[in-house]
């Protein structure tokens, strides 16, 4: 079993609206393994984008994470603070959005947009200080949170007492006050410790910086001494040497404009943008759709992420450009050992990209498995419906279209969310949510049809035919290969 890179457990997310909470994601769990591509498919509104945005920590303001956890490198992404997210987002997690035109700033040159993140995140000395004092800071902030929670708990308890009229308010108050006092003391201690750690770290880093500076000052002085005796052409060379040394020193402190530009040219070459030097000075409107998407990918890559989230990166593009972008993402994945979450509603693209597929419906993962299992042995009626609603090159019959609309997530259904639109629905589907039934070690589906007492239902004829055709095709190709 490969290593788990990211683990989502019982995650629930809802959006506050004037009508009440909209439950966009309901208790989903999945693991993401190292160096795999996990595709998340589903209709719009099934919660696939919300899930990925919660991993990036860029949910809309009215979204709340009700429960669950997202574990990434031993940290729970649902609990960490915005400032800590900056570090992750800048360096570990990259995201590519659906519409390249609206995710680029129209009045900013491409070069600036690519280098912006590097320069902002590239204050090496400051980052060092932060990293050194991180555990103390963590402790201090956690304690602070605890104190705030305690106060809130007291307030709500008091409100409850006031409303119902019974219960001892004063006793509660004094108990809480004691608790708060100890917490306050702890917070003060932690704060002092944090500040001390910060100071020490700063001193250490400052010393390091001063040493570096002195070292380079010496080097520069040496060159200058040589320069004074040199003449003409030689002087020019020495001048260049000095400026190089200065640049080197600056790079120790932060990512300089020059360095960022070099790096930008590098990634632009990597994503296949011709004439990057000329292109750096252009604006987004001067690029075609495919090129714009490449720029967005380049921006994500400057940070050297190891987890890349692609939110429908090819939906706005046409087939040929789509094929190019998919090839590019696959190539980058190989070269950089990326782990990819790929969100789409195009099953053809899924078959091209994915190692594993999660099918989402109404905020739940209804089926998850390797892409072979999902395409050759689908078990959930919703997966069947999705597969049969898409024409392939040989389909001639009337297309299957899923009747009705997805449920309103203001009022999530009691039973299986798909029951209303499902021709195979049984009475229990309307009553109780199906648990995950295991099909194989890697393949799980949440449908009552897999229960041992359920009637044996075969997938619709279209899908059976298609699977047969696919198996035939792969048999043919292996035979022809064998012949060759």
């Amino acid at each position: 079993m490969p290593d788990v890179k990211l683990s989502v457990k019982d995650l629930s997310i809802s959006f506050k609206t004037p009508q009440g909470p909209v439950r966009a994601v309901r208790d989903i769990s999945f693991d993401l393994y190292q160096r795999e591509t996990l595709a998340i498919v589903g209709e719009s509104g099934s919660g696939k984008s919300v899930t990925s945005r919660s991993i990036m920590g860029i949910l809309a303001g009215n979204a709340t994470i009700d429960s669950g956890s997202i574990i990434y490198e031993d940290e729970d992404l649902t609990k960490i603070r915005e400032e800590d997210f900056h570090k992750l987002r800048g360096n570990k997690l990259g995201m590519i959005f659906q519409d390249p035109l609206s995710s680029l700033n129209p009045i900013m040159k491409i070069g600036k947009q690519i280098t912006e993140g590097m320069v902002v995140n590239g204050k090496h000395l400051k980052n060092k200080i932060k990293a050194k004092s991180h555990p103390e800071r963590r402790k201090y902030l956690n304690l602070k949170d605890e104190l705030a929670k305690e106060k809130e708990a007291l307030a709500s308890a008091l409100a409850a007492i006031k409303e119902s009229g019974d219960g001892d308010a004063s006793a509660l108050k004094s108990a809480s006050a004691a608790k708060q006092a100890t917490l306050k003391k702890q917070v003060a201690e932690a704060k002092a410790a944090y500040q001390a750690a910060k100071k020490a770290a700063k001193k250490e880093v400052d010393q390091e910086w001063a040493a570096k500076k002195a070292e380079y000052a010496e080097k520069i002085a040496a060159v200058k001494a040589k320069m004074s005796s040199a003449s003409g052409e030689e002087k020019k060379g020495y001048r260049a040497e000095i400026s190089d040394l200065k640049e080197e020193l600056a790079r120790y402190k932060q990512v300089t404009q020059k360095e960022a530009r070099e790096r930008a040219l590098e990634v632009m070459n990597e994503v296949g943008i011709p004439e990057p030097e000329k292109r750096l000075k252009q604006y987004p409107f001067q690029f075609s759709g495919g090129m714009r998407q490449r720029i967005v990918i380049a921006i994500a890559l400057t940070a050297n992420p190891d987890l890349l989230i692609c939110d429908e990166p090819t939906t706005a593009l046409d087939v040929t450009i789509q094929a190019q972008i998919l090839e590019l993402i696959n190539r980058l994945k190989e070269e950089r050992d990326l782990t990819v979450i790929f969100i789409t509603h195009d099953l053809g693209v899924v078959a091209n990209m994915a190692d594993r597929v999660a099918v989402m419906y109404a905020g739940k993962v209804v089926e998850i498995g390797t892409s072979e299992e999902i395409f050759y042995n689908p078990k959930h009626p919703y997966t069947w419906a999705l597969l049969s609603s898409m024409p392939d090159l040989s389909s001639r019959d009337r297309l299957f279209s899923i009747p009705g609309t997805p449920p309103n997530m203001l009022y999530p259904p009691k039973g299986d969310a798909f029951a209303d639109r499902n021709e195979y629905a049984m009475a229990i589907d309307f009553e109780e949510q199906p648990p995950y039934f295991k099909v194989s070690d890697t393949h799980y589906a949440a449908t009552w049809l897999l229960h041992k007492d359920a009637p044996k239902v075969k997938p619709p004829q279209v899908i059976q035919d298609r699977i047969k055709a696919m198996k035939q095709r792969s048999k043919d190709s292996t035979q022809s290969e064998a012949r060759n």
Binding site: L326, M390, P391, R398
Partner: protein, 383 residues
């Protein structure tokens, strides 16, 4: 042979920007010709920016064509004049050249001729020059007479005919006015067509709503109250209300979700069967075009590079661009996807420097844009 409903002849649509040194001519559609038979679905595919949408928009007279003609139900509904003007210029230039040559010949002959013959020679040459001039004037007059005719045809606004042609747009959110109710949106076309009785309008709107699978009570709502698929249905209803014979569907499903795409395709399929509507289906999703269209035209940078029956096109793609397009279609089959080899199209493989390409019928119903040398190669491939 079925009746031809729409016929596009040498259609050109050029857009110019800038003046003088900065003048830039974008040949969005460049010499495209095809016929659409009654009752068929004609698919037009190609990558974005290849001119497929411009073709559709020019046909429905949203643009005035630069050159070429569009015939709909036997009437010329729009025609460009730039080509004619060019022809006149060419004719004049050719005639001038011919005259100059004649004059030179006369001069050399006059030198060698004896005094007595001079008058005779002069007379014969004068006659010849006169003949050339007369011919030129006749041709130019003829061509010039056509210019106002074309302009008139393009400018005329015959509702009777034009109402038979309707369009469905790509983005159902952008193409519906958010301040109008569904009824107003659908009835707008009827009112422009001259319908004044409120009762008739209401009845027709309700009918057409039912046809596209919506309910009459939806008529009083606004577009934002509907889902994506329903909005596209409203767009279809708006096109249907004036009883068209021909619909231009410009990427009607690319902005929609998978399950809704199936609904809209099924609806269009029903309309075609029930009402015998002819459809020009513009799309870039080849698996949908293959499923829905009867004949497919492939466009590349303003040119129609291949046109064939859909099965023929998928079985025998000849033009390298068609091959590359077909190889880029992703299929829901992981095994196949892993082995799929994408063919890249390199437009420089064609050598059109001396041997100019044309649209040839290489096999019955299979047209391809190629020059003589390539035709020979393609024929080899077909066998």
């Amino acid at each position: 042979m079925a009746e031809t409903i729409l016929s596009v002849r040498n259609l050109k649509q050029h857009f110019t920007t800038g003046i003088g040194r900065n003048k830039l001519v974008v040949k969005a559609v460049d010499d495209v010709s095809f016929d659409i038979q009654k009752g068929e679905v004609f698919g037009l595919v190609g990558e974005s920016g290849c001119g497929k949408t411009t073709t559709g928009r020019t046909i429905i007279k949203l643009y005035e064509p630069t050159d070429g003609e569009v015939y709909f139900l036997g009437n010329r509904i729009s025609a460009g004049t730039v080509g004619l003007k060019q022809q006149i210029k060419d004719e004049k230039r050719n005639a001038a050249q011919e005259i100059a040559e004649l004059k030179q010949a006369m001069a050399s002959e006059l030198e060698s001729a004896s005094e007595s013959d001079k008058a005779k020679v002069q007379a014969t040459y004068q006659e010849k020059i006169k003949a050339v001039e007369l011919k030129r004037d006749a041709v130019v007059k003829n061509l010039k007479r056509d210019i106002p005719k074309r302009k008139e045809d393009t400018a005329q606004d015959d509702r009777e005919i034009l109402n038979k042609m309707q369009m469905i747009f790509q983005d159902p959110i952008a193409s519906l006015n958010p301040r109008m109710t569904v009824k107003e949106i659908i009835a707008e076309g009827l009112r422009i067509a001259g319908e004044k009785k409120e009762k008739v309008i209401q009845e027709k709107v309700n009918d057409v709503l039912e046809t596209v699978g919506l309910l009459p009570e939806h008529a009083s709502r606004y577009p934002h109250e509907f889902s994506g698929g329903q909005r596209q249905r409203i767009g279809i209803a708006r096109a249907l209300v004036v009883n068209p014979e021909f619909i231009i569907a410009d990427e009607p499903i690319s902005a929609l979700d998978v399950s809704i795409q199936a609904q809209v395709i099924n609806l269009l399929n029903d309309l075609r069967k029930d009402f015998g509507i002819t459809i020009l289906f513009i799309a870039h999703d080849l698996s949908v075009v293959k499923y829905f269209a009867d004949r497919i035209g492939v466009m590349y940078y303003g040119k129609l590079v291949e046109l064939a029956d859909k099965d023929e096109l998928f079985k025998n793609p000849l033009h390298p661009y068609t091959k590359s397009l077909l190889s880029a279609v992703p299929l829901p089959d992981p095994e196949y996807e892993r082995g799929r080899q994408r063919i890249k199209y390199d437009p420089t493989v064609h050598d059109y420097s001396s041997d100019l390409p044309e649209l040839h019928e290489i096999k019955k119903g299979h047209l391809i844009y190629a020059n003589q040398a390539e035709i020979a190669a393609y024929k080899q491939e077909l066998k």
